[in-house]
Symmetry: D2
Subunit: 372 residues, 4 copies
């Protein structure tokens, strides 16, 4: 059950305190206070957690500070579609608009290594008109004895080079809430020319404390990678932890699922879920072909599987593509075998444009199922 | 180990008999004789099965009837690519060419019911220039208490109506070798205007006796649906049962995999495997969007998921599409909820043409990875 | 919907013919006639398949030959528990009783090879007081180039040696309905001293034509191995094909499931389902530790995993164990790495007795949840 | 690569600083310093992460502070068996010994609620001679709108009542590193009569930052629950994060895997992996039957599936059992349907004793595969 306060009521208001006491007087009920920053005002909400099914709503509605009392019966309260009547969750960040209607490529280094490689990467992206990139500083690795990323030390270098080449957004995984401060500090010190979209990786898809942190402690956009081995519904519920924390700048990213049936790909490519996620939520949906395919396997038509599955994502309306490139894949510290070469970037961009064009032509081909 | 005979040697030749005896004199070895009908001649092969690793090849090579002795070390001997030097397995049947380069739609009834529906179906297909269709007479159902298909009784009606409307190939599942005779007899009686591609359903993907039968007892093309719950490699090995039986007119069809991760689709859509199957084998690759998606779920862009995943298959080079249509889906005896309506056919065809066009443009966009 | 005839009504009765015509007059309905042999009488049933939900029962009940009309609303009509009020499906065959209360070991050869090995196997089993064995003549193999079993040729030898050593039941896989005749003929020619329980392997778990055949064409008991990659419910529905065909001597066998989570075992051991299958059905439940574990992996307590999982099955009430032994595992033509050695048989038997004893003590330890 | 220092060398030693510089002078190499507290001394280790395969060992071995240089080629360096020559990782904590040879039951509340329930729980456990329990204060829940546990507030009450009834160890999940401090503070304030084993839940199985924290920031024992949807090997690698952080008091707990094949159980019970984990590692192995089965489903032999799978774990050597009990399951705030009733405790204990007795008899039944 959620009690939504009126526009002028903050979490510190005495009446809110009384609401908390009343709520916790019911057995088996605990509470959480949430403040959600909107563009024009901040919304205060009181969550009643636990056995709330038998609690009456009337005693709460009588408080003058209360706008409404909502029972949580629908799935995905904050991010869901609920029949389509809610505003979209797309957003603009650092001059870039990201929504269920846009498409952006985020090529880049899976793991940041030498500054020269970062410089080359951003320079080539800029030459091709791309201002969004991926770059990994904190790398969660299966074994503690593997390379764990360069961490906070590389951030000034990365942000300086990004600013130099006009990169507007870098998608960067975080694995601990302290990384948020490190990133925000480094962004400020670099003059905020570039921005960061923080990634939650598949291994932390149900690390709810981290999800609460990115929901409550930052206004940076969040790219949430679908959790491996959990259902799509569970992943969307995990996104609700971010949204219910107050941060609604969320992107959902498909990246393949671990099963015994996805071979010969590294993971079972799940890009058929692009339209499904758009139907269930109002979130922009990205795809990560590199971690889905996991190699430079090439079909007899002389096209890499990574290109093919990217096209599959885009022709059904994907809103973004994270893709690994590297100036010297053979020297990459992480996932080199799946990295594309810099001289393939133009072809890759052209390939995605053909697929996006096809998507738009498909929309024009519709005979109008719903409207006139 | 396989002993390939010279061009003029049949299975009855006395020397072949001696080869069998020699082979079976080795402990743990059994044999099988295969005759494979080609366009110009019939090839005789003797398979040595079991512990053949330690058997020398020389004693067999000395026979004058022997062309060569082959150790089976490569995967997918008959259908595999083996580095690309083998002729393609595409084929022409009843005037229709099917290969890794072509694209054909096979819309139709999941299960044949009333003749009026079959007539309408074929008539509308013909109006739209389509001469390939699906139609189910024998239906394997999870429960014995469900409708099991109309069986052999409906074949004359189906083939007569197909002939009337110029349908060249009907894709039709068989679940028992006796269905082959029933189909072939009915085809002859109907004047052979139409033809049949026999389908092996996912439940029979490792019914090796049935696979041997369609490999040995018929020259009708075979559409093999990938087995649920087994790896892609196991499914391709199962195709080898058909090919090693002598029938090389094989199509491989993706139709989604059962897992707990494919929700909200009926099955986990696996069309990212289209390029993978083309790389591993020389078989044409079809997709079945209807059984993969399993419903008329529609994305917020007003496009059905069935259309979306079809486009995903085609933009990476799928060679065929099996798709359920029905004049009255609400009355369908099987899988009605996933059937498209006849008045959606034009839009569906247009949608597939956009995706196919995009695939062809993508091929032109290549920068020439391999050759000039 | 199922129409059950009175005791004296056979399938040929004129009234039954009229019932068929009436049933098929409803659109979307087909029929099947079943005769089920019981110990004292034969039961005739008419199945109405398809869209039977809207058909009234009254017109059928008015026929004088009709005992009752049953709508199929419960799962697993023939083999299910339905609240516990139905008679158990245990059976006696060739002097051996098999039910949800008994325990029998079926050690033996995964694949029949040399007669000497078969002779040794049965001799040693007899020395240890075991009269039930497994022996594979027809082997479905993933690749057509692998050893496919010795087939019908070895049956006289196997049955003669079984009779010589007093083996009462041999569990033997069939992969085609013709194998039923071959086995029945060979049994008769061997003097019927031994008997056969026909196995349906996991690859044929949804080969409904074969299931119908063993349900209708034989009175030999049937051991059904759970299908890989399908749910338990789907496997139990497949058993219904056997039971609804008339043969109620069915054993359900767990053998591990293919997933990416069962490593380092060959399959994900599923013996926790022993009590679940007993709750859902009245079938005896066997386990196959050899194909579940797939190797001679040994724990630090010096006990093989095959022993451990066998104990896991028995301590929760498993009714039988199929287990691979071989006099010379290194020479076995199939699955040698998982075969136990003959000199381990005594230890294995002792191990299973400890687990069975523990199961019986556990039953005595109950405090009487349900009754006095 | 790991550089192990001599006994008297701390992380602050100047030579160690020089080693770090040398290591980081190689391209693609980062370092981590670890201090591992043993019973008699502290061990200092320098980890070289990244592309260490081409680095020579000699330059490092020449330092006088270096004991040895180890290349990480074996799996599970800290917890693995490596052929059996390493000391066991069992441990004693608060007077309780936990190893691969012992067995302890940890019954308790899935989620702490009213003090009266906690008091009753510990009182009844004490009456039955059990001094180890589970109790959940921090609950990670799929949806942010579900009850999230009583958190730190309930710790003083829980520890006071545990001390009152002589409970020696409480197994308690943590989801954030700050919980470690909260627990340790509350333990000290409660007089340290009781102790805590911190649980890492399945959702945090690859939350490497949390794993590093429990490895480095606490000496409390750690119970690691296997991750859902990842392989056993990946879960064991995750345990290495704890062990390589310095904390070697680790218990591995099986709790069932999410798949589509485990129905009708909540998860696919994986207790066949008890001997496998013992073979791969030196860790004690626990099982959690409550979360595996997820309900009070009862077999026709009048035994709950939860009892059955517990027996399956113990008869193969499980070292501990986490099991949900509740004085009033119908009022439980979390997972009530799977909780056992307090008056079932005696029967449950008896059942586990029968299974443990059977395990010990099985060990005596061995014929001595390895030794005399």
């Amino acid at each position: 059950m959620i009690i939504v306060m009126k526009a002028d009521v903050g979490a510190e208001a005495p009446e809110v305190r009384q609401l908390v006491e009343l709520a916790e007087s019911y057995p088996g009920v605990t509470t959480e206070l949430h403040e959600i920053a909107g563009s024009t005002r901040t919304l205060t909400e009181l969550y009643l957690l636990g056995s709330t099914g038998v609690i009456p709503t009337e005693p709460f509605q009588e408080f003058s500070c209360v706008e409404k009392v909502v029972r949580i019966t629908e799935k995905f309260r904050s991010i869901g579609r609920h029949g389509g009547d809610l505003e979209a969750v797309g957003f603009e960040y650092n001059g870039v608009e990201i929504s269920q209607d846009t498409l952006h490529l985020f090529p880049g280094l899976c793991a940041v290594d030498a500054a020269a490689n970062v410089d080359t990467m951003f320079e080539v992206l800029a030459e091709h008109g791309i201002c969004t990139a991926r770059a990994g500083a904190y790398k969660p690795r299966t074994s503690p004895y593997d390379f764990q990323g360069r961490g906070a030390d590389c951030l000034p270098m990365v942000f300086e080079l990004a600013g130099k080449h006009g990169i507007k957004i870098i998608s960067m995984e975080v694995t601990h809430e302290s990384h948020l401060d490190e990133i925000q500090t480094a962004l400020i010190e670099s003059g905020n020319a570039t921005g960061v979209m923080v990634q939650i990786g598949t291994r932390n898809a149900q690390n709810f404390e981290l999800l609460k942190a990115v929901g409550q402690q930052t206004e940076l956009p969040v790219l949430f990678k679908r959790g491996m081995g959990i259902t799509l519904e569970e992943s969307l519920n995990a996104c609700e932890y971010v949204a219910s924390g107050g941060n609604r700048r969320i992107v959902f990213c498909l990246r393949g699922m671990k099963t015994n049936l996805g071979d010969p790909h590294r993971n079972f490519v799940d890009f058929a879920h692009v339209p499904a996620v758009k139907r269930l939520t109002r979130l922009p949906v990205f795809v990560d072909p590199s971690h889905s395919v996991g190699s430079r396997a090439t079909a007899p038509d002389d096209v890499l599987d990574i290109y093919h599955v990217t096209a599959q994502g885009i022709i059904v309306g994907a809103n973004g593509v994270l893709v690994d490139f590297h100036p010297h894949p053979e020297n990459a510290l992480c996932d080199g075998p799946q990295a594309l070469h810099m001289d393939e970037l133009a072809e890759f961009i052209g390939d995605t444009q053909i697929a996006r064009d096809a998507y738009e032509r498909r929309l024009q081909n519709r005979t109008g199922r719903r409207g006139a």
